[in-house]
Structure formats: structure tokens, C-alpha cells
Symmetry: C2
Subunit: 776 residues, 2 copies
Amino acid sequence: MDYKKILVNDHVKPFLLKARYGIEKESHRVDLSGNLASTDHPKSITLKDDHPYIQRDFSETQMEIITPVSETLEDLFNYLAAIHDVAYRSMDENEMLWPLSMPPQLPENEDEIVIAKLDNVENTRYRQFLAHSHGRRKQMISGIHYNFQFGDEFIQALFNLQSEITDYRHFKEEIYLKVTRNYLHYRWLVTYFYGASPRSEKNFFEDDSLNGAVRSIRGSKYGYVNSDNVLVSYKSIQNYLADLSSMVKKGILSEEKEFYAPIRLRGGHHVSDLEDHGVHYIELRNIDLNPFETYGISYEQAEFLHLFLLYLLWKDEGDQCDEWGKMGDFYNEIVALEHPLAHTPFEEEAKSIIDEMEHLVDILDLSVSDTLFVHLREMLMDPSKTLAGRLYKESEKSSQSQVATSIAKENYKKSWDKPYQLAGFTDMELSTQILMFDAIQQGIQIEILDRQDQFLKLKLKDHVEYVKNGNMTSKDTYVSSLIMENKTVTKKILHQHGFRVPKGEEFQTIEQASRSYHLFSSKPFVVKPKTTNYGIGISIFKDGANYEDYQQALKLAFKEDSSVLVEEFINGTEYRFFVLNDQVYAVLLRIPANVKGDGKHTIEELVTNKNRDPLRGRDHRTPLELIRLGELEKLMLKGQGYRMDSIPEKDVIIYLRENSNISTGGDSIDVTDLIPDDYKKIAVDAVAALGVKICGIDLIIEDTRVPATNKNAYGIIEANFNPSMYMHVYPYSGKSRRLTIHIIQYLFPELLESQDSKLINLGVPLAKREFATVTC
Amino acid sequence: MDYKKILVNDHVKPFLLKARYGIEKESHRVDLSGNLASTDHPKSITLKDDHPYIQRDFSETQMEIITPVSETLEDLFNYLAAIHDVAYRSMDENEMLWPLSMPPQLPENEDEIVIAKLDNVENTRYRQFLAHSHGRRKQMISGIHYNFQFGDEFIQALFNLQSEITDYRHFKEEIYLKVTRNYLHYRWLVTYFYGASPRSEKNFFEDDSLNGAVRSIRGSKYGYVNSDNVLVSYKSIQNYLADLSSMVKKGILSEEKEFYAPIRLRGGHHVSDLEDHGVHYIELRNIDLNPFETYGISYEQAEFLHLFLLYLLWKDEGDQCDEWGKMGDFYNEIVALEHPLAHTPFEEEAKSIIDEMEHLVDILDLSVSDTLFVHLREMLMDPSKTLAGRLYKESEKSSQSQVATSIAKENYKKSWDKPYQLAGFTDMELSTQILMFDAIQQGIQIEILDRQDQFLKLKLKDHVEYVKNGNMTSKDTYVSSLIMENKTVTKKILHQHGFRVPKGEEFQTIEQASRSYHLFSSKPFVVKPKTTNYGIGISIFKDGANYEDYQQALKLAFKEDSSVLVEEFINGTEYRFFVLNDQVYAVLLRIPANVKGDGKHTIEELVTNKNRDPLRGRDHRTPLELIRLGELEKLMLKGQGYRMDSIPEKDVIIYLRENSNISTGGDSIDVTDLIPDDYKKIAVDAVAALGVKICGIDLIIEDTRVPATNKNAYGIIEANFNPSMYMHVYPYSGKSRRLTIHIIQYLFPELLESQDSKLINLGVPLAKREFATVTC
């Protein structure tokens, strides 16, 4: 097959970089001093054996992070980051992940290495067998498996351009076989650039078998390899499968999955899939953990690997295919065992491969990172710039172990820095990020159907749920959301069910509304647009209004909407009740932006200080917003006789805003435990009257000590079909209420039916933050 | 109580015209010649005995129309109109309603008058008793009952301004008692203006007891009144109830509801409610049918009655309360039996009452119709302008019966003129109007929660359903509507379930989209904004596109939305499948605006002619839109070598538009019976995959004769969460599919469980229009 010719065809071009990726990454849990953790795998990560994202490999400390199959490298790295975030924040607070392929110091007695405590007996037995046959020490080496699948349209386009092979499955196999054979031959290049296991820590080797530093212990014969008598042909799938099967029959391999090739042909999850379905993808297994990357591999590395595989398809191979592979083993062993700072004898060949790869990028019109080839050439010219070289040089200053520990600590800090965020998805709405965190932790598979639209598909075994904005689900009916969207309809229905709502009327024109002036003029009332939100266009008259002010308010409101509501204003404090499936899970009080005087600092300084809170940021990507000092705030200060440089007395609270919106710097205060049950019942019953299951309902209560049954004890202002959950999860003060986990458990009740149900609630990580006690 | 003083208080003013109204209106079904109908009550009006809106009174032909309680006169008349529309279009096609209070010619033998064939035995027995005690003839008189309740805030405001009566219920009773006593005294005024039963038809009177024409037979002793020895005091509720009870005990009345006063105090549905709950409202029973109004009463009349009742509360009454009422009976009898064209001896008093009423309007700052007092004074000055006078004068030219028959015919025509509309609600969306029609017919109570928003509350016994736009219901989930709203998510889910959807990508910037040019360039493809509808911003390239055209299309699409889809264009014909609860109820083909040549007329003439179809109109208030002849249409003609004045040959079809939207004059063609089941199954399964229950799903099919399982036999373009139902109910050609009734039966399955289930389907009135046979 002349791949060189068909790859450059215009019909192939649109699909050249279409591919699917997946990463499995092992690393050990260690304590803050870099010692192997003595604790069990985190209990908060449920579904332990079956967890789709976070598992254990050989030992109890060896955490394996598994990304879902991704269509782009961006997606792949987003998931990798997110699952790492969940893993980190699910672990003991004093634990972190070891960033090196070679394990930290092992116990002197290898039997003290704890095999993963899996539920499934067979899985445990298999690990016991491995411990017995290979020794526990070697099993502790960690690395990256890079799963790669050419896009189907890409292979299809190539297939259509040739007539040599008429069977599509066969054609696909030939493609993967060629890439595999060439990978075996040329993989020394990967070892040179990205090998990163120069030294072992104490007690890894029983003897002094390896002296001095190398490029990759893991990639050499000292790593995790089969014995020399394991010989498998890559001439065809038939040969490959026949050889494997014969090795097992002869007892040279205990089972087929014991074949530890640096690259594996994969038909699916099981070895047998290969025979049944042909090759679906390949698995590169010779990637050391990149110590300098938080997630063990860089985007540029992943990009290189894709390009390299494309190059290997393009590049001619040797005639003797199995010999070609064996030569590769030989070259790789040389490169793996070179000193990390040594120039390699293959430097010239490497240079010409890089040149060819760059040529390929040119003729195929591919877009790759600008720096990729710059970096590759730098590493070729200067071995100290390779991963092994860098790690070796860093370690010279102290020790490899100290370097690894300090890298681990940085990664640890990063993951706890903004505990409300989910790395990889920080552009999404905060409530969705928190929900995704919980879903990953619970072992629920996530697919993002529309990122901008916060649209998720959640899957637990065969059970699928779609969720938008974290709380729009299949549990609510279509019409109930429309009811909540329409303030007039909401009020009518609540009123018909006997709840107190502000009396009012809806108007379509200023003239119409003007005629009803006398209905409202002498009482407290509000003028507001019917459908807009966030307080825009609303005027409040706490002591009635004269005709001119009323007119002005109508004009403002009609600017925002073609329908305007004029309503009685109900006095009291507004509380947000979060109701889920007939239960109140959280009650929140929102207080306008404010600072508390200390008798020393100016208002400006107090604001600056309050804004240092890591929970405060901009644009709803943090649980609280920065307090601003704009015109409105200055006006508000002036009204109270203050200026920005005034120094308020100790404990005096200065309000900077009239409105209590979180979006303008307001404080959110959890008061769930302070609100009497009778008001919670009102909230639950009102939400039920609307036929709603998930709702943020706003009650105005004049005095919570007065029974809710008293006349005019409360008024219901609004029912929100898209309540912000994050403000309950990360309030300014008071207890955190992890609503997202309740949503997940409501959607997937089977989670609670499992034996681990108690663990679920215990395991939810809250913000590592001491909340102030409630001051309201 | 000095009502004159407290009524003018500023605290009362805002509530003066707040009230609740209800109308019951009887009239007889007659054939097109004006003879009493010999048919049964319409079968399509189900729930016969319990129907909330359409019932029978005494006889099988005596239809009673009952409005729901309404907060405004506008609402009241809307309902009155709508229920009439339903009644008319539920009746036999050759039947209409008799517009007079006095029945049409009765059978010589009164036993031939058919008593209402009710299911409930007791109801039938009661009518038999009436027939026996009063004779069947008198029971055939029809009229209007006007139920009136002062607004609660109005009474509350009055109550707060006085200290004489401390009990609110008692105060309310006093108000209604005063109004009632004054009404009894002054009701002759109503009889003068609105009495409208001057003559009887043949066989009404057994003898010649009444000679010549009068103002109101019905309002006189010849009408439906108690005998003289029925005496009830209106001094207090206690007296009133005691007297009634004593009349029954003495056998003067058979039961309490046999008390036929011209005004009744009402506590609720039953007489006993008065004792239990006090007075809730009053019922004016002395209103003749207004022959000149389609619905038996005019808005101005209703307004007069409200104002009159307010006046009667304001107006001082006589000291001797029961005497005061009896005097009223005497005056009324005089006025009722005057010749219709005679001036009344009470003219001067009437004039001063009208002056006082106008004065009241002034001092209370009330807003009433400009013409009200003009008309009242005209009628006072010229008796021929009163209702009785007008009917008498008209009848002189032919006969009262002929006048009545011709009025009935006009009303009949009006109700059938635009059978897709529901009178009173023609501003609402057509699908909602049709659904409301069906709901009223099925005896489901309708409340409009938000008229602009097409938001309905439907109620059948205790079962409540909320519906927006006729098809957004509790049967669909919130998230499924959000899935349909998002084209990308819809496509992803359908694709994951194995359905063919156009392949494509979503882009956020023109640059991003430009880079993918080669993915689409050589195939048919579409560029479209992600969320806008109605074909805006869409470019179709049926044979691929050059780079410049692609860029242009992207610019157009990004003008409409921040996300743009570029998709494969699927060849074939687009069909709209309406799926409801896993069943296809209708399939529609939409054809671009077109005319068919006849070799004689110009294109302009053909368009004018086609636009004469009563189904065509503007702004979605008719099932089809008028075909326009604007710039776009002219351009389209030019492209085909035509001009507006070209005369196309016979049977040549000229298209005036590229797009097939109904909104731009397209034709809707029902093809439900022509589409093979396998394609219907695709539609049903796809809708199920989205988790949707009510959906309009668009399939492109290249050839319906090819099995749906063939590769690329179809493609799914879109799933609509708000499909227009009306276009299926009133297609341009093909069979009408009454989807609205299926929606109702889906929401209220108990309708089908009732014994009458078969009748429901039979009874649905379709448009009285011969649809052309399908020509596609």
C-alpha cells in the first residue's frame, strides 16, 4: 500500500487529525513527606471496583485515573484535569500524588506492600498471582497508557482511495499493524524525549543491578517487561492472535493480558474483542509519567504522539516485519539505558525523523503547536532538556525524592486552591462544575452534550439522565418550568392554593397601569417587568408613591418588558428556600454588599481586605463576587454620611448597596438550621402546589419567631426554576449545603440503595474553609 | 347606614367597579325554518348532566349556556361568545338557536314538548313535577340570569369605614339586602329598557288571556311567577329564610328553589348555602333575551346592570321594606304590560333616576361606556328604541317569528364562518383556540392564567392540568423540552440512538468554521444559526460551495446567533410527523406558496383567487397565510421566466417561494394515510429516544416507497417542542387531524374511560369544508 500517496489526497485532508483518545494514568498516594500512604483508597470514591474514572491498579496506594474516550485532545486534557481534581479532593487532606513513574521509597519487606483491597475476589487473586510471579516491587512502577484511535472517516477516506484491500475491517487492521510495527521499531525516539525514570528510590531493587542514572528504568529491561522467550508476530492479526494463544498454551504467558508489549492492538475491553471485532485502537504503554506536568503528560506530548503515529503510517517500514520490531527493542534498550545527559548515538537519525515529520506537517497542511518542533530539536541538541535530563539535573541539587515531593506539594496546593472549581471545566457555570465533581466522584459517567449550554448526559450503568444547568432535569415537568417562568401564573396558582402572594395587577401599557394608580398609591408597592430578572427595571416604594414617581417607575419597567406587574410590597426579610423532592435542603439569607468597621481601616481598605477572600471573584465563576466601589456604592455611602476614606467604628456595618444580589457583592448566609419547620413546610407545600420538584422559592418573612399560620406572616415572591446551587454550597458564612449531591441522589436513587450509601454522604468534600458563624 | 357618605370615600374608590359576574342563558334549538328541533341534545357535548358550560333546562331543546364566574365584563362576554361557538358547532348542522325569550311555535298538544332526557332520575322527576304543576308551555320561556357579586375588597373597604355593624358577614348581608329591596322596587326600569317579549308564538297560550303586544310577557304575571300568596320578607336573612321555610311547610311552595323572585339572594349553589355561609351574590332573573345580540345580552346592558346595582346601594330606600318591594311588583306589572311603543307613566321618574346615576358616575369617578347614558335617554324619549319597541316594529313588517328566524340564521352563519376560531378568544394562538373549543365541548373547565402567554388551567372534577400553547404539558419533562430546544443536543442524542441526522459541526467563530471548510465544501450542506427558527439566517448549498460563498453564509448565520451549525444537506422531501404518546397522529407535507395555471388568468389573478380561501389570513390567526406578491416572489417568478401578468398554461404549477413555510403562504397537505408505517415507526422511536411525549418531528425522506431501514433512507432534521397543531387540524388539502382532542384525551384519560367514550370521537366538529383530495 502506498500510504505516502493516498495520505496527501484532498479527500483525506479534512480528516487527518480526527481521532479519539483516552488516557490511563497511575500514580501513588503519598503523605505530605512523600512516603507511601498507609491509608485505604478514599471512601468517598464509591463504586470502587467499577468506578469508570478512578480505580486502583496493583496496590492500594496506586491510584489509576482513567479518562473517557475523547474526540479532541482538548477534551482529553479537560477530563484528565477534572478527574485529578476529584481524586485529590477525595483523598485524605494530608495526601498527595507521587509524580514519578518510579515509586517512592518502598518498605524493606516487600510483603508490606498492600495489594489493592478490591471487592471482587478474582481481581484480588490476580494481583496475588502477579505479586508472586513478578514480585510486588516491580508492580509499583507507574506510567501512562495512551489509547489512540484513528477517526473512522479518516480510515474510510483512505480505504476509498485504494483497491488493493476490499474488506474494510481488514484494511483497518493493516493500518494499525503498520503503525504498530513502525512504533516498535522507532519507539526509542519516545524514550529519548519523554523517558523520565532515571533513578529508583530505596528498596526498589533488591540488589545493585542498575548502577547510575539512565533515561528510563521503566522503559528498559528493568521495567515491567516479558521474558525474552515471549515472541509474538505482528505480520497479521491472525499471526498475532495465534502466537499469543500458543504462548499461553505453552505456559510462557499465564494469560493473554500478561503480554506486556510497549504497544498493544486493542479490539475493545477484552483480548477476545480483537478476534471478534478486529482492531479498534492501539494502546501505547511505554510513556513514563512526566514529573513536570500536573497530570503526568503534557498536551504537546499527546500532540507529538498523534503526529508520530500518523508519521509511522506514512513512513516506509522494513521488509522483515518481525525483525523490524526486534531491531526496535534493541535500539530502545540502548536509548533507555543511556545516561540522562548523554547524547544518543541515534541523534542524526532522530534529526532526520523530526525533519520528515515537519515535512509531513507541511505537505498535509496540518496545524500543530508552534513550539512542538522547536522543543523537539532543543531536546535533541541538548539532552539536559529531555524529561530525564531535567529530572536528573534538578535532583542533583537535592535528591530525586525531594524534587518529587516538592512537585507533588505544588500539585496538591493547586487542587485545593479553589475547591469550588473543577479543573478543565472552569468556564462552565459553577453549579454545573460542582455537580460534575460529585458525579465523577460517585462514578457516574459524564458526557458534555453542549458546553456553552451546560448540558450534561449522566450515565450509571444503563440509567441515563440529562441535566442542564445542574438542576433542570427529567424530574420536573415541562409545564411546571413554564409556570415558574411566568410570574403572573405562579402567583395565581399559589393564591388559588391558599398561599399569600403579593396582590397586584399586570399591565400591557403605561396608560392602563396609570388608571390603577389608586389601587396602590397609599401602600408599599413594587413596579417590575414581568419576565426580566436580576432586579433590572424594578422600583420599590416602601411608603407609597406620588403619581409622577409612579409614572417614572412604569417607564423604567416597560423598558425591560412589554408586560409590567404592579404589586403590593411585603415587608420583611427575603429568604431563599431550596426545595428538592418535597424537602427543604437549604435556606439562604442574602445581605447587600457590606463591610464591618474595625476603628482602624478606611472603608476602601476594608473592601480590599474583604475582597481577598478566595471565594470572591468575577462573573459568577466564584461563589461570591468582588465588592465594587463604583458610582452607586459611593452614592450609597454618601447617603449614610461616609466617604471611601472614612474609618468606621469597630463592629459598625456599612452597607455599600441597597440590593442584596450576590452578583453585586452581596453576602450569602446559610440559615437552614435557624428557620423554623413551619416556614419550611410553607416552602415545601408551595413548591408542591406548583407541581415542581426542584425549585428555589423566595419567601419574605417579617419575623421567623411568629408562627407561619399567622395572618400575613409571610409572602411568596418568586419561584425560580434555575436556582443557583453554588451559593448554598459555598456561602459567605454558615454551613455548606452540598445540594448537588442531593440532586445526583435524586436522579440516581440506586446510589443510595447500594451498601455504601452511608459512605456517600461522609465522603463529600466540602470547601476546606472555616466558615464564620452566622451573624445575621 | 349612610352609604351615600361612605361610597364616595377615597378608600373605596379603587374598588368601586370590582365585581364578579356570571351569566346563565337559555334558548331553544330550532331548525333552519325556526321550528322547535326534534333532535336530542348534541351528543358531542359530553358529561351531559354535569357539563359546566352547556346544559339543558326544562326541555330537551332548551339549551342553557353557563359562563364561568368572571372578574371582568370583558372576560364574561368572551366566555359567553366562546361557549356559544361551541354550542353552535356541536349542534346538528341544520340547527340554530332561537333568539327570543318567548318560545317558537309549540306543539298543539303540550305533552309533545319533550322533557330534557337527563341521566339523573331525580332531575327528570323534578321536571315532570314542573310539567304537572305549571304546565309544559310556561317552562319553555327562556331568559338570562345575571349573577352578580360585589368585589370583596369593595365590601371590605365599606365595612372598614363604618362602626354600626361589627360582623363582616352581617354587613355584607345588609348590603345585598338593601340592593335587593331596591331592585324589587325599581326593576320596572329594567323591564322598560330591556323587556323583549312583546308577543307569544302559536300554542303558547291556551286561551286568549293576553291580547295585543306588551313590553315583556316574561316579566309580567303571564311569565314564570309564583302565585300571589307566596310572601317572603327581605327585612333580614333570618326573616327571608324563615318565610321561605314556612311557605314550604304550608305547601304553598313545593320546595325552596320554587321561589321565582325576579332577584334571588344566593349563598352558593344550593338554597341551604345561604343559611350556612350568608349571602355571596345576587341573581337577577328578570332579564329577557335581547334578540338583537348574538349572545342574548349586550355588554352595555351588563354594564348598566352593574351600575344600576351600585346605584341601588347608594339610593335611599323606603322605610317599610316589604311594602317597598310590593310596590315594585305593582309598578313592574304596569310597565311590563304596556304597549311596546307606548310612553310609560314613569318616564319622569325614570329620567331622574338616569340623571342620578349619571351624577353618581361623576362623583364616584367611574368609567363607563360613552354611549350608555345616550342610549338610555334615547330609549326613554322614544319607546320604539327599547328592545320591545324594536322587536315589535321589526315584526310589523313580517312577523315576530320571521324576524326571529332571520336573526337566528345570521347568528348561525357567524358561528360557522370561521370554524377554526373560537369567538371571544380570536387574539389567542390558533392551536390554543382549537384546544379550548374541544375542552369546552368535553366539559373541561378552562381558566386562562395568562392570555398573552397562552397559559391555560384545565379542570375536570378534581383533576387539574396546566397547558401552554396547547401542547406544552405536564406529560413532558423539563429537560426533554430543553433537549429539543438545543439542535446540537437533539442531534447528538438521536445519533447515539442510531438515527440518521445530518452530520455537522458547531462553531463559535467564523475563523473556527472557516478552518473546517474542507469538511463540507464538496457536498450538499447547510449553514444555520444554532437556535433561531423560521428559516432566518440559513444558507443551503445543494452542490457544495466555494470559499467566498461559505464565508458569506457564515456571516449571515452569525448575525442571528453566537453559535452556528454547518451540516450535511440531506436530499428529499421534508415531512412533519406529529407524535403524541408514542403514536403518529398526523403527517404533513408543506409546499412553498404556489398557484396552478388555468390558461386564462394571470399569476396575479390566480393569487388573488387563491387568497379568497377563508382559511387564509394574516399573522397566524388563520390556518393558512395569504400569498404575498412582494420583491422575493417577483424575483422567484423572474427566475422562472414569469411576470405577475403572465398567464400560465393549464395545470402548470408556479412556485412563488423557495421555502415551504406556512407563514409565507405555503400549502399544508395532510399525508398521514400515505406515509408507510416504517417511517412512522422511525418518528415514534426517535421521539421516544429524546424522552418526549408531544413532539413535531421533521424527517427528510427521499422516497417513501423505499424501506426506512435502507441506508440513508431518511434523515431527521429537527424535533419541535412547540409544533403548530392547527396546520394539521385545518390543512390546505387532505384530511383534518383533530390533534387537540387527542391532547385532551391524553391529559384526561378518564374521558375515554367513561361510557360515552365512543361519542367523543364522533362528536368532534370538523371544519364544514370540503377538502380537496391530496394532490401531492
